[in-house]
Amino acid sequence: MSEPVTVVIVDDHTIFRSGLKADLDGRVRVVGEAGTVEDAVAVIDQLRPQVVLLDVHLPGGLGGGGREVLTRSSALIPQVRFLALSVSDAAEDVVSVIRAGARGYVTKTASGPEITDAVLRVAEGDAVFSPRLAGFVLDAFGTSAVADDELDRLSARELEVMRLIARGYSYKEVAKELFISVKTVETHVSAVLRKLQLTNRHELSRWAADRRIW
């Protein structure tokens, strides 16, 4: 906890950027900012921050927004971690940045300390799931469990964890409810994130297409 986590904020609203910068506490240090896809790619490549707070909707580039930043910076992804930030609740937006490699998603209405916590968690390699993202996952994968080793579905435990997160439980509360450690909860959430990123399930695409707008 000695060294603050380095962060780059990517958002096209200057007012929002400065507001967010003021809200984040001393555990993180904002080293750079960008407002367009091109700037973001350049700044991230130059500064190599630990975490990038990435807005889903960005001008510039080929019109791909945050997803484009992710695909163009994908070579850096093990060292640089991305946390998606969005006002949009549209499932398609959120799920597409996650599938492009973001480690989690928080809404812009979250408070400074909440976003700081999420940044720290992402910096440690964990995934950050909001209740809404958990809801999307449950909706996309279906709510019935199958065997653990199947990539296309969620295991019973993962489903339980997702449900509790969707119900508004923190990781700590989930751990207490299921009598497991917080670390185990984080492992389950990371597994779900990986499944969400890797699966090519036809149903997932169709689900996302159906619900382009939430």
């Binding site: 949009s88 549209a90 799920v95 209740p131």
Partner: protein
């Protein structure tokens, strides 16, 4: 879906031999230009397939500048980038530079050279075959050359006049364009006339051929113009629709967001009021932006969201709703589902009134049951020492659920209170 590569839009490139089709195609497909050009040349040898394909792309694919102009007409809505986000090619914002004007002039020169080359080539072919002994009558070659030349002139006019119009306004380009079109028409007509009068034998058949030739020639000349007008008309119509859309958005913003912002400024002192106003406005705006996508309304989750919004407004306390699946509210199961909704409403009211922090609501409408969870972060209470005023609330939750064949559990602790509502057996069996 989202794993697919983002491709640049298909526009004709600046780097060109003829019309920039190959370079545009190469950019769009992410292949090297030479490869595309060679493929095109090879395809042309296959019975001219490449030429037809090239011509088709030439007509249908806009140039970079045209695409930019089309993109620029879209309104950039500040509130909803998702709703209208113009997709601009990278070179879009550049104004017409002197270099571009020069390029346009040079291109016009190229066109003339190419035309000349084609005519000379035809003449050479004719003369060559004559020398080799094939007797191709001059009366056949000259009209053919005239028709081809005229058509080429008119076709080039389509592309050139549009480019020049873009570079330096409509003024100067028009004369030139009219002249070229006239020349093209004259050439074609002359060619047809020559073809008719050039020989005397078999007048009946020739008359037929001649009339067909006239029709084909006129169509060939007018086709690009028809296309151009049709495209302009379509663009005009699209622009008008966008303008109307923009006006509607402006009107809506004026009626809702601006009023709320004014209200927020007047109540700046009260944090609770400001938060409540902002949340209500956000919800209303979202509803308006995304309303088209919602089917019908009046399903279980729609009603649940509406009730949550009501509670949020009444109590000034944020209520976050997450729904998975959905269930209809009409039909046999209407009554127990309505009861479940009312119980959920009581639970949300209770949580917003007594709990602290945001209220989380999660609903899952599965195949076997509907579950609703309402969680707050209040101080919690001991179930055995429930005060009498909350007993009524509990009765309207627990009792109501029981009467309709469901069950309600209330779990309370230091971390807050959670009301769990479960309605089994009446899930979603509809197809």
């Amino acid at each position: 879906m989202d794993t697919a590569q983002i491709r640049p839009p298909l526009v004709r490139g600046e780097d060109r031999f003829v019309a920039g089709v190959c370079s545009g195609l190469a950019r769009h497909l992410g292949v090297r230009v030479d490869v595309v050009r060679w493929v095109m040349v090879l395809a042309s040898l296959l019975g001219g397939a490449g030429i037809v394909f090239y011509a088709w792309l030439w007509i249908m694919v806009p140039t970079t500048a045209e695409a930019a102009r089309r993109g620029a007409r879209r309104p950039a809505s500040p509130i909803a980038p998702a709703v209208s986000r113009p997709v601009m090619p990278p070179t879009a914002a550049e104004p017409a530079s002197p270099a571009q004007v020069r390029r346009a002039r040079r291109l016009a020169g190229h066109a003339r050279e190419m035309l000349l080359g084609a005519v000379l080539l035809l003449a050479a072919l004719g003369l060559g075959s004559r020398m080799l002994g094939f007797d191709i009558p001059l009366g056949f070659i000259v009209p053919l050359a005239a028709i081809l030349g005229g058509a080429a002139l008119a076709w080039m006019q389509l592309d050139d006049s549009r480019r020049e119009q873009l570079v330096r306004g409509a003024g100067a380009g028009r004369w030139n364009g009219g002249l070229r079109l006239g020349a093209g028409l004259a050439l074609v007509v002359a060619g047809v006339a020559l073809a008719v009068s050039g020989s005397q034998w078999n007048v009946l058949g020739l008359a037929l051929v001649a009339s067909l030739a006239v029709l084909a020639g006129v169509a060939l000349v007018l086709l690009p113009w028809g296309l151009k007008f049709w495209r302009d008309l379509a663009a005009e119509r699209a622009a008008r629709v966008r303008e109307e859309e923009r006006a509607e958005i402006a009107a809506h913003l004026h009626d809702s967001v601006l009023q709320t912002l004014a209200l927020i400024q007047r109540r700046a002192g009260s944090e609770a009021d400001v938060t409540r106003l902002a949340r209500a406005q956000e919800r209303e705006l979202r509803e308006w932006l995304y309303r088209d996508a919602r089917k019908g309304g009046g399903t279980f989750t729609d009603r649940l969201r509406a009730l949550a919004a009501e509670v949020e407004d009444a109590q000034g306390h944020p209520v976050d709703v997450v729904c998975v699946g959905d269930a209809p509210l009409d039909g046999d199961h209407r009554e127990p589902r309505e009861a479940l909704l009312q119980a959920a409403r009581e639970a949300m009211l209770n949580a917003a009134r007594h709990g602290g922090g945001p209220v989380s609501v999660y609903a899952e409408a599965g195949a076997e049951a509907i579950d609703v969870f309402v969680k707050d972060r209040g101080p919690g209470f001991d179930l055995d020492e429930v005060p009498s005023d909350r007993l009524g609330v509990r009765e309207s939750i627990v009792g109501r659920m029981r009467r309709h064949g469901g069950e309600a559990t209330i779990v309370s602790g230091t971390g807050g209170t959670e009301v769990r509502l479960h309605l089994a057996g009446v899930g979603t069996e509809e197809p």
